[in-house]
Symmetry: C2
């Protein structure tokens, strides 16, 4: 069973995001060893400067690096990443399962991820050119990983 | 105030999607005249043929056409559509508000939309190459429209 570790920043504040994430977490238990780590977001002032944002992202990066499993295949979520179809992503996860046994997916805070984190990842994945709240992005990613397993098993979930 | 009509197929079965959609509906009231129409999905057998799917989509298309406001700018959501950034979409909605006064966004059923609906739309919009449940797509689209208004007003919601 492939290991899937999701590293996220910040809490799911709205009950509907928490409930949606919890539902997909439960369902994913049938397909993978899932671990979700929720790190604390750095606090920023109302109108942070570019330098303050960069520093905050670097502090978040330290916490992220401490959580990445050494042998996992690392995927950073970012808008400039590569977009894949659901089928392509499923195939990719299947190959990662065989080669690495574990995948680590990293979703940044509302200001994204530091360059250091992106560079430390083997793959940069983009879900959309549109911006979504990173809380919603966690739900999207869980659904997408769940869908991947259904694609690989050829079930009716993904028609 | 621009009119925004969302035509969707099928119900939001999960409470968390209903709650998320209701929250964005409420918030959108400050920015637009929002109307959401939820049409009945056609029933299909367990393993429908291509012909059966096409017929179901055509029946759904008739119901959709009956709901499209005659003067609205029409946008069909489909994976082969054009992807825009949040800023580009906001600008597009702003121009539609000035030229048409109303936009009609159409999200198909789990098998998508008929070609006839796509051809009747001025724009085809894609959110992602990834497939998402059409219930989740409704939430994504509401968040995106809500974000567009914040972008146009220059608020902090979209940093």
């Amino acid at each position: 069973m492939i290991g899937v570790k999701l590293i996220t920043l910040g809490t799911l504040k709205e009950a509907y995001w928490r409930d949606a994430a919890a539902e997909y977490e439960k369902r994913l238990g049938a397909f993978c060893r899932l671990e979700i780590v929720q790190l604390k977001e750095e606090r920023l002032s109302e109108n942070p400067t570019e330098g303050e944002i960069r520093q905050a992202l670097e502090r978040e990066a330290e916490k992220i690096f401490a959580q990445i499993p050494p042998k996992a295949y690392r995927i950073a979520l970012c808008v400039e990443g590569k977009q894949l179809s659901s089928e392509e992503l499923a195939e990719r996860l299947d190959r990662i399962g065989e080669s690495h046994g574990e995948v680590c997916l990293i979703i940044g805070s509302s200001f994204g991820l530091s360059d250091s984190v992106k560079q430390a990842c083997q793959m940069k994945l983009s879900v959309s050119r549109l911006t979504f709240p990173h809380q919603l992005m966690r739900v999207l990613l869980l659904e997408t990983v769940y869908r991947s397993f259904h694609i690989l098993r050829g079930t009716r979930y993904h028609k």
